[in-house]
């Protein structure tokens, strides 16, 4: 059983630290104050809290206007409402002018949307953001990482999209700090296979590596939390060692980590890569862990994918 943390609280606590130091940082919500556990923030910093109502396009447009006049707005609401409903505002008015707006999307992945069903399970956000030029894209592993990632993205001069979860987000047992644009090597048993993972399914990757080890297959497990810019050097080093990889993400297998790694490796370091993720279908409602198992993101699926990848190595 996973220990759980709360990435939403981690975000809002970090936000409070940020506004204490940076008078230009503000929070913009679209009736999402409860989503991001923002009541204490709104009460403590009423002048730094803007709620435009259930109107995400307007939230992003407003944030663009604020950033154009020197503020550093963080827009926080559900991942899909930022990346899909307000997609064009993100693309044309934040990313194209390169404005300093941070976009924070909750319920990233089917496990974070869990019982709400498809309307609140967001598994396309990363793919959509990745195709827009000029946005830094970050998928932190757990609440500890969100703490660090929030502060790291604040330091980026320009647009960033960061995923957070449901507030019941598995804790990854690791003290390796978050460094934007650098993979975190979480486990290095050997060079048989790389398991490249991100988000709230990393523990599954780690467990799969343990299981593989009992069968004499030694894996490297890395947290690829920054999708743009991708840590090309770090990934090449891993793939050089393993010559095969499995990607593990709570996202459609199209557009996310699996795509980023296969696109990159096809050009720079061709090797077998098997993708674990939602296989381009709409999920059902359910509890997070059984949902992930049902949609082929189980530990067993990762183990089998690793063996398949190894088998196809030259």
């Amino acid at each position: 059983m996973n220990q759980l943390g709360n990435t939403r609280i981690a975000f809002i606590e970090s936000m409070a630290e940020i506004v204490e130091k940076d008078p230009k940082a503000v929070l913009v919500c679209a009736d999402s104050v409860l989503v991001v556990k923002g009541k204490p923030f709104a009460e403590k910093y009423p002048e730094k809290f803007f709620d435009v109502g259930i109107a995400e396009q307007n939230a992003v447009a407003c944030a663009a206007g604020m950033a154009a006049c020197g503020l550093v707005p963080f827009v926080a609401t559900y991942a899909g409402f930022i990346t899909m409903r307000a997609c064009e505002q993100v693309r044309t008015f934040v990313a194209y002018p390169g404005l300093n707006v941070k976009l924070v999307g909750a319920n990233g992945g089917i496990s974070a949307g869990e019982r709400e069903g498809v309307t609140h399970q967001f598994f396309e956000d990363i793919g959509i953001m990745r195709t827009i030029p000029g946005i830094t894209v970050v998928v932190p592993a757990d609440h500890n990482q969100v703490h660090q990632a929030t502060k790291a993205i604040h330091k980026v001069e320009g647009p960033v999209y960061m995923r957070i979860g449901s507030g019941r987000d598995p804790v990854v047992d690791s003290d390796i700090p978050f460094e934007l644009g650098k993979v975190r090597i979480l486990k290095e048993d050997g060079g048989d296979i790389a398991i490249l993972a991100n988000g709230f399914v990393i523990n599954r990757a780690l467990e799969a590596a343990d299981n593989l080890k009992t069968e004499g297959i030694n894996a490297v497990v890395a947290d690829v939390h920054t999708l743009k810019p991708l840590d090309e050097k770090g990934i090449i080093e891993i793939l050089k060692k393993t010559g095969a990889a499995v990607t593990v993400e709570d996202h459609n297998i199209i557009g996310g980590l699996g795509s980023a790694i296969t696109e990159f490796s096809a050009e720079k370091m061709p090797c077998p890569v098997v993708r674990i993720g939602l296989r381009d279908v709409y999920p059902r409602s359910g509890l997070p862990e059984p949902l992930l198992d049902y949609y082929k993101m189980s530990v067993t699926d990762i183990v089998e994918a690793a063996k398949r990848a190894i088998k196809t190595k030259k």
Binding site: V26, E47, K48, F50, V52, G53, A55, Q57, N58, V60, A61, C62, A63, A64, G65, M66, A67, A68, C69, G70, L71, P73, E88, Q89, T92, F93, Y96, P97, G98
Partner: protein, 275 residues
């Protein structure tokens, strides 16, 4: 007519000359919508706004968003006349070599406060600018010109709603009500009318003017500025193609390039030199 009105009339005529010339020379652009907004843009840049062409990034300057970004030939012409960049650049409009993009780009073009061109977004961006100004203790006003067809976009009404909540008194929005959008008359395409009661219902301070009468434009902005706790909407009745008779009443001029003969005819009417 006052001296200032006479001056503005003449500047608007020069801007119209540049609009038609640049679209003719560049071989692309939207003359009709640019000409309907020309007098509003002229009033803003040559009388109303507190700006400094030598310092386009001045933090206390008034902001302007041409939400109907396709009317940008009029804005580019005004910026050039104002001294943000040489007038000789205007003919480069929409070409690969020029910084004058097909729609306004805040990073490439000096004097542009906001990227625009995808319709409906100017009011929300303007609201963000207004809120930032208030937060930072700056005294500037934010002006937006939106088309009438443009306000069919849903985001406009999201922004209208929250501008009221935030009592955005320093946000002044003109609707360039020329009555005709790309596909035909606004009412026929969308059923948008009546426009003013909608903004009134959203809690805005509303005025209705002739968008080609400078005395009316200036007076409306004065009124809007005095109203400090409501955002302001100025419904400006305009004529698509205003100033160039053969474009009026012919919506093919929404986006069309004047031939040599048409360009010369426009120059004769506007008193422009044929170049």
């Amino acid at each position: 007519m006052s001296e200032i009105e006479r001056q503005l009339e003449d500047i608007a005529r020069l801007v119209r000359i540049d609009v038609v010339t640049m679209i003719h020379k560049a071989g692309d652009g939207h003359p009709g919508p640019a000409l309907s907004a020309t007098d509003l843009i002229t009033a803003l840049y040559f009388h109303i706004m507190n700006i400094d062409p030598k310092n386009p990034g001045w933090e206390d300057r008034d902001r302007f968003i041409l939400s109907k970004g396709h009317a940008c030939p009029a804005l580019y012409a005004a910026l050039a006349r104002k001294g943000y960049f040489p007038r000789s650049e205007l003919v480069g409009l929409r070409s690969l070599e020029s910084f004058l993009q097909g729609h306004p780009d805040m990073n490439k073009i000096p004097g542009i406060d906001s990227t625009s061109g995808s319709l409906g977004n100017g009011v929300g961006i303007g609201l963000g600018m207004t809120l930032a100004g208030r937060y930072l203790g700056r005294d500037y006003f934010t002006y937006v010109i939106t088309g009438d067809g443009e306000i069919e976009e849903g985001i406009v009404w999201e922004s209208a709603m929250s501008a009221k909540k935030y009592k955005a008194g320093k946000l002044i929005v003109f609707v360039d009500n020329n009555g005709i959008q790309s596909g035909g008359p606004v009412e026929k395409v969308s059923g948008l009318n009546p426009i003013l009661p909608k903004w009134e219902a959203f809690g805005w301070h509303c005025q209705e003017i002739d968008g080609h009468n400078f005395a009316g434009i200036l007076k409306a902005v004065e009124n809007a500025k005095e109203n400090t706790d409501q955002p302001s909407l100025i419904l400006a009745h305009t004529i698509k193609g205003q100033g160039v008779p053969f474009m009026i009443g012919d919506n093919s001029w929404h986006k069309r390039v004047p031939t040599k003969e048409q360009y010369e005819e426009a120059m004769r009417v506007l008193g422009g030199e044929i170049s």
